[in-house]
Amino acid sequence: MAVIKKLKAVKIDQNHLLGIQDISFSQVSEIIKQAKTFITLNKSSSKKIDILRGKTQINLFFEPSTRTQSSFELAGKRLGADVMSMNIVNSAIKKGETLIDTAMTLNAMHPDIIVIRHQDSGAPNLLSQKVNCSVINAGDGRREHPTQALLDALTIINRKGKIEGLKIAICGDILHSRVARSNIYLMNMLGAEVNVVAPKTLLPHSIERLGVNAFTDMKKGLDGCDIVMMLRLQNERMQGSFLPSAREYYEYFGLTPDKLKMAKKEALIMHPGPMNRGVEIDTNLADDINRSVIREQVELGVAVRMACLKIFCKRN
């Protein structure tokens, strides 16, 4: 009981969500708790409330994104905010304007929240130092993608009831993945044991120092796991000589029924999308409604982002 009381008393005075590394256990609990209430709301016939009425949310996406951007857009709209998505392809950035200048321009329009995705690690941190509003990181370089990790956590909690004590394997291109990093921090924080599985060329230096067990043998890495998180493998990785071919990758690191046998019988399959069927995951497994929670992840993504917008939106 004491714990719950403590959680209720939590006040989040920090206005930015830059990464899982920067938030606390109690903040995470608050986000999950709020998100749960929004799951119900999102299933009801009237999905719109007015918590953020009068607030302006700007989505500033420097990298192409379909699901994250639309998820944030929907989340903002359902909370009653005015949402504007910046199309960077045609903007001044392409004409040589720096991130800070863009930030100052946007700041002059008095937004309440900026949701940013940027190809450079640390870009949201820089932005947050220069604007008066809340900054939410929607993915920066290979550093963090906090809302993805939070929605993954919510999905697991929804299915398994908890995260503490679970064994979670994150498989694939760990080196270039912000999803992997955010999930490593979050799942560790919530008490899971985390394995990462990747060929050596796609494992970041000193990854064990982040509190994970690293495996290059997928079967060993999946042994006894409750959750199997697959990551997207970008085709460019073949050119950079990280891997010889998609065929070789699939043979050793693709999720197949055979390899999945090593995990627990009731293990869940997750994927942040978009998927490369036949490269990192067997197409039938991806669609197996008993094992795969990939579509549920997308659904809960909206709820988690609503919770984040609500909690981190700067109060006047």
Partner: protein, 430 residues
């Protein structure tokens, strides 16, 4: 010029193995007339004006082997006047200017320009370096003989490394003809491609692409192999990792003749200082681990590394107020070289004599210039500092035109009070 009498100083001159309380007489031509304990109040005529240094430390003017000026092409970052002011306030009286300007210092006519600007605008001694290759592109070598005759003291592509092994062997064998000094910035381009900071836990956490220590080590190993076949005056500008030290130590033990430098940044800071994407700590070579830093300190103590440089690289604020990957590389440092080095003395990491040696007599010896020590008849280039004076670095008070100091707000102990160049009092802290 009147003769000047400096008395009651602690004179440290590692080049002459001197560390004693004494004085120094500057003659009417600005040369050192006498130095040491015999120059005392009692031994001097009573009527002359004496400057009592009150036990402050007097060392030869500092020789900084790696300084970027900005002229020509980047005057908005630093010009000769601002560089001179910055250097003098840090006790630096001689600098080797890097050739990465716009246009690059790669031909004889540029040298005349540099010498003229250096003479007219600065009070310090400017020893210009030229590029090893045209426009520092790593392909066509520059005119070592002609450039040297014009007054070029050393050859380096500065921020760049000669990647092509064949070009490097030819540079080494051709340079030996004119007895030219080659200074290599050791970093393999392919291994460090896209790299921003040391490869390790911090790069993994920050999501920044790493620069592996191997990028430095293999260039050093390669060049030292070449040196066996193509002997020349060879100097590694700066090293950053423990593994490279091992290679250098082994080569020196085998009797190979070459020298090595290190930036004060790599001796005093490590990758953890980058914190939350501080672009002022984006450096080349990158800051590495605490273990690497400790190994570098040890290498100064046992003489494996010969020289400490400031690697003074002024960058305007606009070049640094960007995301980490877009921000310019480099930090200012010429005016904080000595105080930051003294931190290593105060925390008992490095003996004072070794420290002073690495910024005075050793660089002078490598460059082959008559600086960096206090012999009779030499130019009276002097640096006088209070070894214990505490102060806090404030970028707005620094004299360099650019404010990209990597040690903003750092508490330091030791500050320069007077700097003489050729017998003239060129700087005095009031």
């Amino acid at each position: 010029m009147k003769e000047k009498y400096l008395i009651n100083a602690r004179i440290i001159d590692p080049g002459n193995d001197m560390d004693e309380i004494g004085g120094l007489i500057i003659d009417s031509k600005g040369l050192i007339k006498a130095v040491g304990k015999k120059v005392s109040n009692g031994n001097l005529p009573a009527k002359v004006d004496k400057i009592d240094l009150k036990k402050q430390v007097l060392i030869p003017g500092i020789v900084d082997m790696r300084v970027f000026v900005g002229e020509p092409g980047y005057e908005y970052k630093e010009n000769f006047r601002t560089l001179s002011d910055a250097a003098l306030s840090g006790g630096v009286t001689s600098v080797v200017s890097m050739p990465n300007t716009l246009p690059a210092i790669d031909n004889v006519s540029m040298v005349d320009f540099l010498k003229r600007r250096g003479r007219d605008k600065s009070k310090i001694n400017i020893f210009p370096a030229a590029t090893l290759t045209k426009n520092a592109e790593g392909r066509q070598m520059t005119e070592f003989g002609l450039l040297k005759r014009k007054g070029i003291i050393a050859f380096t592509d500065g921020v760049k490394t000669i990647q092509d092994p064949q070009v490097m062997t030819r540079i080494m064998s051709f340079a030996s003809q004119s007895n030219s000094l080659i200074m290599q910035h050791a970093q393999d381009n392919i291994l460090s491609d896209g790299g921003l900071i040391n490869e390790g836990e911090i790069s993994t956490r920050l999501g920044l692409k790493g620069i592996p220590f191997l990028a430095e080590k293999i260039i050093v190993e390669r060049d030292l192999s070449f040196l066996e076949e193509y002997f020349c005056r060879y100097h590694i500008s700066q090293i950053s990792s423990e593994k490279t030290i091992t290679v250098i130590e082994k080569a020196k033990n085998e009797g190979k003749i070459f020298t090595t430098g290190v930036s004060i940044n790599n001796l005093s800071l490590n990758e953890n200082d980058i914190g939350d994407f501080k672009t002022f700590l984006k450096l080349s070579p990158p800051l590495r681990t605490e273990n690497d830093r400790k190994a570098l300190v040890k290498a100064i103590n046992n003489g494996v590394i010969d020289v400490i440089v400031s690697d003074h690289k002024p960058e305007d604020e606009e070049s640094k107020r960007l995301t980490f990957s877009q921000a310019a590389t480099g930090a200012t440092g010429v005016e904080t070289l000595l105080p930051l080095a003294l931190e290593l003395y105060h925390n008992k990491s490095i003996k004072l004599k070794k420290l002073i040696q690495a910024i005075t007599s050793n660089p002078a010896k490598i460059l082959g210039i008559d600086k960096g020590s206090l012999g009779k008849g030499k130019d009276a280039d002097l640096c006088i500092f209070d070894i214990n004076k505490p102060w806090i670095v404030d970028k707005n008070k620094l004299k360099s035109k650019s404010k990209n100091t990597p040690i903003e707000k750092r508490k330091l102990q030791g500050q320069v009070f007077k700097t003489f160049v050729k017998g003239e009092l060129a700087y005095e802290r009031i």
